[in-house]
Symmetry: C2
Subunit: 330 residues, 2 copies
């Protein structure tokens, strides 16, 4: 049985899409036991009948999606659905938590409530990149820590390698370092030092430097960087996808052929757009705390949220945290 805490009130379309996502996941996996934290009355509006493997714990408040100061909000208010869900993980009532709440709030709650794993120096946000060529790569840290030391990035690589091996069934996942050039010796002092650490670590299958232009086509499974750089890369991809949507529309509408062609391939272009919205389906993992934390995209619909639950379930069942703990104690 995998018991997961769900923040039913986090996300742009909460609680409706969150509740429906839980129903989808609970139906698909009979080994799931979901505890939904949030406004009981509202949650029940979207469930005709509460399934056996779902329960509800009332929480009267929720963290606002645009909250400017999540640290104070989380510290001040025990009645937030997010806080209650994270406490359930801290108290070992649940093995993991899934939320579509605001990223900063999720990182803060993971830090303050669940707390870091002993021996783990930093927390990292790890999104799964859009699948290209049959592979969905990991990028971490994508924004939890802007100022880090080389050994922190080494730990990200070790953590992600264990996660990838156990959840994806790949014996020696290949690790690349995000950098501005592919040759050794490129980048700032930080990258040069991380390069050496990764190269010397016998537990890492190190590929070398990877420029962001190869992000979705590199043979690597895992890409590491400091949180500032990782965040810039993620947001650049988002910006490029957005701009490309605009430009594609401009170009298609320029000629009659373009307009006719569009009628034929409208579905293909929609599917293309969906695939390019990074981390829309699947969610990001928060690595480094003593519990499984999955952050679903803020704009998650039921389908996307059910995938985030699936990711949390898989991570719990694969004993990722236990393996990392052993590794940290070696």
């Amino acid at each position: 049985m995998v018991k997961l805490a769900i923040d039913a009130m986090g996300g742009d379309f909460a609680p409706k899409e969150i509740v429906e996502g839980c129903l989808l996941a609970a139906k698909e996996f009979s080994d799931l036991n979901l505890v939904l934290y949030g406004d009981e009355e509202q949650i029940k509006m979207y469930m005709k009948k509460v399934p056996e493997n779902i329960s509800i714990v009332h929480a009267k408040d929720k963290l606002d999606m645009g909250e400017k100061d999540p640290i104070s909000a989380i510290r001040r208010n025990d009645e937030l659905s997010l806080v209650k869900a994270f406490k359930a993980v801290h108290d070992k009532e649940c093995s993991g938590v899934v939320t579509a709440g605001p990223t900063q709030g999720v990182v803060v709650a993971a830090h303050m409530i669940i707390k870091k794993l002993e021996g783990m120096k930093r927390v990292a946000i790890c999104p799964q990149l859009p699948e290209v060529g049959g592979k969905s790569r990991l990028l971490l840290d994508s924004g939890a820590n802007t100022d880090v030391r080389p050994e922190h990035i080494l730990q990200y690589a070790e953590f992600a390698s264990i996660f990838y091996k156990l959840t994806r069934d790949v014996e020696n996942p290949l690790v690349g370092l995000i950098n501005i050039g592919s040759e050794p010796g490129k980048g700032r002092e930080l990258e040069k030092e991380v390069f050496e650490l990764l190269k010397e670590d016998p537990k890492i299958n190190f590929y070398g430097n990877v420029e962001p232009k190869e992000l979705l086509t590199t043979p690597c499974d895992i890409l590491v960087s400091d949180g500032f750089s990782g965040n810039l890369v993620m947001k650049s991809f988002e910006g490029c996808a957005k701009a490309m949507g605009i430009i594609l529309k401009e170009e298609i509408s320029k000629t009659l052929g373009g307009k006719i062609g569009y009628l034929f391939m409208r579905d293909n272009i929609d599917e293309f757009k969906r695939r390019m919205s990074a981390d829309e389906v699947g969610g990001s993992l928060i690595f480094g705390v003593d519990g499984v934390v999955v952050k679903a995209h803020g704009s998650s619909n039921a389908y996307a949220f059910s995938h985030a639950i699936k990711l949390a379930r898989k991570t719990v069942l694969s004993n990722v945290l236990e393996t990392v703990k052993q590794h940290l104690n070696e």
Copy 2:
């Protein structure tokens, strides 16, 4: 008369496309005087008749596009077409130089041969981003200097503001700072300090922080960052465009409708791809040295190279360097 030095041997398709690009530009602008540096025999193969406003200066060697150590190569060999062209600017024989040679070699030559403007602390690479919504934005530094201080980025902003104002006829170009969040106070120490400097500078029309996801849709005309971050952003856009091309192809070929639609809109999609290849047309400026330097894309064809010449011409005619010099002496 605008006299420009041309490195006829730099670029993936040199000298053919370079020479043909020069012919296009020389024909369009009778005030241009182009001096082509390179292998005379090869250059003449692509010119039936040398026009009046084009001359050739023989250089027997060229900098290899894949040269691993451009510093030594440039220091060692005065016979490189790149070195000769840059020397013509240093010696004030020409007002500017245009080359499609390798970026690192161009930056090194600008530094070592033309030399920095007095008072200018760092050199910056400034590409023009793909046009979206009728605006082509500038991003600098996109990779000349990985370790910089806040005042260097302030100078980039001042330099680019003068350039934008004089060449684009915009009275108060809007400047944004590349960052991982849009609110003040975001980013590393570097971004926080640069934010304050930009805010206080009366010569800068400062907008605030800009996340890379808004890079091509922001109201800003100019975006500044350190060279490491700027390079990551540029290469991420390149990677995203590349991946999107692959995904779009995958999706279109999945259904019959997609394939039929593609036949109708093939031209539109080709034009879309062309527009998304950042800096393919137009080239990047190298700011900070005592001469106009335009780096055309390595894969430039004649059309793209003629646009790079056009950019150099416009920059010379707009007295950008003279205005910057006045500004630096104020």
